[in-house]
């Protein structure tokens, strides 16, 4: 078999510009049949744009795409799908109010006598999930009643079902999955690979790249850095290719952490006593000191986000109390929390973080202005000053402060939300998955930022699905399991002890 037959997809010289940004510049990519190719790079490296060009969401300015021996240019995602290119996006775009079966078979419903055959539809959906992914759930339930992880699985099932896909694109499918679910997904991917499907896998988890991929294509700032055999490149080598700078700063982290731990104050900034909400989180005690970073570890659905919501006042607790600087909190609301100088970067950036049509400037000053009230309006000059200061401080990549925030890449949007909360000058900062869907370089930046904030005397609660990250940034770690606080570790702990605590087995 010649090399051109092996390749299911060849993208050559792809370029694409958006107003003010050259998103892709002469990028090449090849994908073989029965191969898992990882596409990696920092935020704004052009991974998503490249995939959008392939799937017809965007049209390239120049370049040639050869798929299965024929030159193609998909006009729309539907068109791409009909050709055999299926995509599962990072943000799940299914209908939460429809049932699982309806979501999987939407547009492909089985018919009987001119009407939808519901019974057959449910059986088909059930089979598809079971056979392809080994997931056994009630497919007649609304999708929204399942966890994000299950929803992700349903999205994959839909992508696979719709067309006999020759190429499957997975855009950060694992960012909301826990360890078991990820392992499960990888099994599915390997199975598909053996059936000859070419898979393009976009992820930020370095470990996963090595676990599952055959080759790696690295992009940086819209340009191709290179394509490498996974077996032939080391992790350190790969990361330095991705971020294009020295790794020394990763080692700095532990030094910074040690240094900052000297500044932890002894009196409690926040004291939660028997704080809980029925059906959300079991009553727990928690003390936080100024200058301290406390990590919340646990699996998906263990109650991490719920803890954050109660502390910030998104949900009102029905038992116990919480006091800040010794004063018991009466007004459980986001605005009340802002006034007490507590901030929360929420887990779901798109739904409860950014206001996408507003500009970067407006997004940054939003919480600060809410605290000042309706009439105490910050002058435009002050707003620009604040925005520019944080754009510089956090390295937010944007043409200007007047750019609508929806035009920014995911990581930069996350930084804008961080800026929004830093601008309120909080004494307690709760960060719920601040590094989700963010590249390695920005991750390290945010982790360092958290520690430097602690050094300034702020307290932080750091929530992440990546245990390594929690360990690296936190002075103290609280472990949650099944909506209950189960353990607390301070000082140096090794990963194993915590994994055992999360799993609920004695070490």
């Amino acid at each position: 078999m010649s090399e051109s037959d092996q390749n299911i997809l060849v993208m050559e010289g792809i370029s694409k510009a958006f107003p003010g940004v050259q998103a892709l510049d002469d990028v090449h990519l090849t994908l073989k049949r029965g191969e898992i190719l990882c596409l990696v790079g920092e935020n704004g490296a052009g991974k998503s744009t490249l995939m959008k060009v392939l799937t017809g969401v965007d049209q390239p300015d120049s370049g040639k795409i050869t798929f299965d021996g024929r030159e193609i240019q998909a006009k729309s995602p539907q068109h791409a799908q009909s050709l055999g290119i299926s995509t599962v996006y990072q943000e799940i775009n299914l209908c939460p109010n429809l049932t699982v079966a309806e979501n999987i078979l939407l547009g492909r419903e089985p018919h009987k006598a001119g009407r939808i055959d519901w019974a057959k539809m449910n059986v088909l959906a059930q089979e598809t999930l079971q056979r392809l992914l080994g997931v056994d759930i009630d497919v007649a339930q609304p999708l929204g009643s399942y966890t994000v992880a299950i929803q992700q699985m349903v999205a994959i099932a839909r992508a696979l079902y719709i067309a006999s896909a020759k190429i499957l694109i997975l855009d950060e499918p694992t960012s909301s999955l826990d360890v078991n679910e990820t392992a499960h997904l990888f099994d599915v991917m390997r199975k598909l690979k053996n059936e000859g499907v070419g898979i393009i896998f976009i992820t930020h988890f370095i470990g996963q790249i090595y676990e599952v991929s055959d080759r790696i294509t690295v992009l940086r700032n819209g340009k191709l850095v290179g394509t490498y055999e996974t077996a032939s490149i080391t992790r350190v080598g790969l990361i330095s290719k991705m971020i294009g700078r020295s790794l020394a700063e990763f080692d700095e982290m532990s030094k910074i952490k040690l240094e900052s731990s000297k500044h932890i104050r002894s009196d409690a900034l926040l004291q939660a006593r028997e704080l809980g909400l029925t059906g959300s989180i079991q009553p727990f005690d928690l003390d936080l000191h100024a200058g301290e970073v406390v990590g919340l570890a646990g699996l998906l659905g263990s109650g991490r986000t719920e803890t954050a919501s109660i502390l910030f006042g998104v949900e009102k607790p029905d038992s116990g109390s919480v006091s800040i600087n010794g004063a018991v909190v009466q007004d459980h609301s986001p605005l009340g929390s802002i006034k007490r100088r507590v901030a929360l970067c929420p887990e779901d950036r798109k739904a409860s973080g950014i206001v996408d049509d507003l500009t970067v400037r407006e997004n940054i000053v939003l919480a600060m202005q809410a605290n000042l009230g309706w009439f105490n309006y910050l002058s435009l000059k002050t707003q620009y000053e604040i925005a520019d200061r944080y754009i510089k401080l956090l390295n937010i990549a944007t043409p200007s402060a007047d750019q609508p925030v929806k035009n920014l890449s995911g990581g930069n949007q996350q930084k804008v939300i961080l800026a929004r909360w830093l601008a309120t000058n909080p004494q307690l900062l709760i960060l719920d998955e601040p590094t989700r869907g963010i590249d390695v370089g920005t991750k390290a930046e945010i982790q360092k930022l958290v520690l430097s904030l602690a050094e300034e005397g702020k307290a932080c609660i750091f929530i992440s699905s990546e245990l390594e990250e929690v360990l690296r940034t936190s002075h103290r770690i609280v472990v949650l399991r099944e909506r209950e606080k189960v353990a607390e570790f301070s000082g140096e702990v090794d990963e194993n002890t915590i994994i055992h605590a999360i799993a609920g087995s004695e070490s």
Binding site: L358, A370, Y377
Partner: protein, 355 residues
């Protein structure tokens, strides 16, 4: 090369402006008028006051302009207020009955003295506007605190409003003869007096929304109310205030309209004006799903609506056919704003450039 890309970039900036489409639409109508209606642009000076078809567009458009101001803010929060026409009727009835309460005794009493009124003018206006505020407050409570969908919530007052208006006047039409009241809609100080009212309300609203944080909060709530809530914005309070203000604007519009026709006609005042106001806002480029808004563009939108009406009458289109013509305009506008059509136009112009 460099120069041409620079100039096309500027052109794009112009076409993307919120004011671009409404102004283009208005210009097209005026060009049509210029070509087909002789004397449309003639402005006459009568005793120092200006009269003419052009002035009439402004004068007759003043109620829709007033409604569009409030409606813009409501739509920007992602809602809609269908009850403004009914609110106008209620306000007209309240004002009428305060000046001429004979209807309460179930008798139609024609006051002939143009200087007679039962209550002084300031009591009439303030009471009427307070009632309008109450109507808006009612909508606001239903939408913000009872979490009823805006369309359903305001439908309640839209339907019951005219009944309430009839109840107030005992089911009778109240003639309004008090001359100072008639001045609101019919007075003239070089330009029609109602235009000064519109200008005043517009400027105040613009200042309040753009020189305080309220405008940004309204947009933020309209775009993503959950993110706004997480950022500490009291989304319910914003909605309450906006609906109340919309009621207030409808109140002023009700005063102007009733003064104009010199009667409080509960079944006809403000009939279907809620739709004109909504259209004015949509023509002004504010999305029905909420978000970014422009008061000025809504004003131009209101003028577009009025200019169409006026032009159709002038070329002799009968009143009953007018709604059909408006429908055509609505379809055109909605097509202009649809992303698909815009993309299509862009693609075509891009192809042309390449050729």
């Amino acid at each position: 090369m460099n120069k041409s890309t620079k100039s096309s970039f500027k052109w794009r900036k112009v076409t993307e402006s919120r004011l671009f489409f409404p102004i283009v639409a208005l210009s097209l109508i005026l060009i049509f008028d210029f070509l087909f209606i002789p004397g449309f642009f003639a402005i006459e000076n009568r005793d120092g006051n200006l009269h003419g078809s052009l002035i009439d567009i402004f004068r007759n458009g003043s109620t829709v302009m007033l409604l569009a101001i409030g409606m813009t803010l409501v739509i920007a929060t992602g809602g809609v207020d269908l009850s403004v026409g009914a609110t106008m009727a209620i306000v007209a009835s309240v004002a009428g009955i305060l000046m001429n309460p004979s209807a309460l005794r179930n008798e139609v009493f024609f006051v002939t003295d143009p200087n007679y009124t039962f209550q002084p003018l300031w009591v009439v206006i303030i009471t009427a506007l307070l009632v309008a505020l109450l109507c808006g407050l009612w909508n606001g409570v239903l939408v913000a605190y009872m979490r009823i969908q805006p369309m359903v919530a305001t439908l309640i007052l839209m339907i019951s409003g005219r009944g309430i208006a009839q109840l107030i006047t005992n089911g009778l039409r109240v003639q309004i003869t008090y001359r100072p009241y008639a001045y609101i809609g019919q007075g003239w100080v070089i330009l029609p007096f109602s235009l000064y009212i519109v200008a005043f309300v517009f400027v105040i609203t613009w200042l309040i929304t753009r020189k305080t944080a309220i405008g940004m909060f309204i947009e933020s709530v309209g775009i993503n109310f959950r993110s706004s809530f997480f950022s500490g914005i009291d989304e319910k309070k914003i909605k309450l205030v906006v609906y109340t203000f919309c009621g207030f604007c409808a109140g002023i519009a009700g005063l102007v309209a009733s003064s104009n026709i010199r009667t409080s006609d509960a079944s006809n005042i403000g009939l279907t004006t809620e739709l004109d106001a909504i259209l004015a806002v949509v023509i002004g480029g504010t999305s029905m799903s909420g978000g970014r808004f422009s008061l000025l563009a809504s004003m131009v939108g209101a003028l577009v609506m009025q200019a169409i009406t006026q032009s159709m009458y002038a070329i002799g289109v009968p009143a009953f056919a007018l709604q059909a013509i408006k429908a055509v305009v609505v379809i055109l506008v909605i097509l202009l704003y649809s992303e698909q059509v815009r993309d299509f136009v862009r693609r075509i112009s891009a192809v042309k450039k390449e050729v």
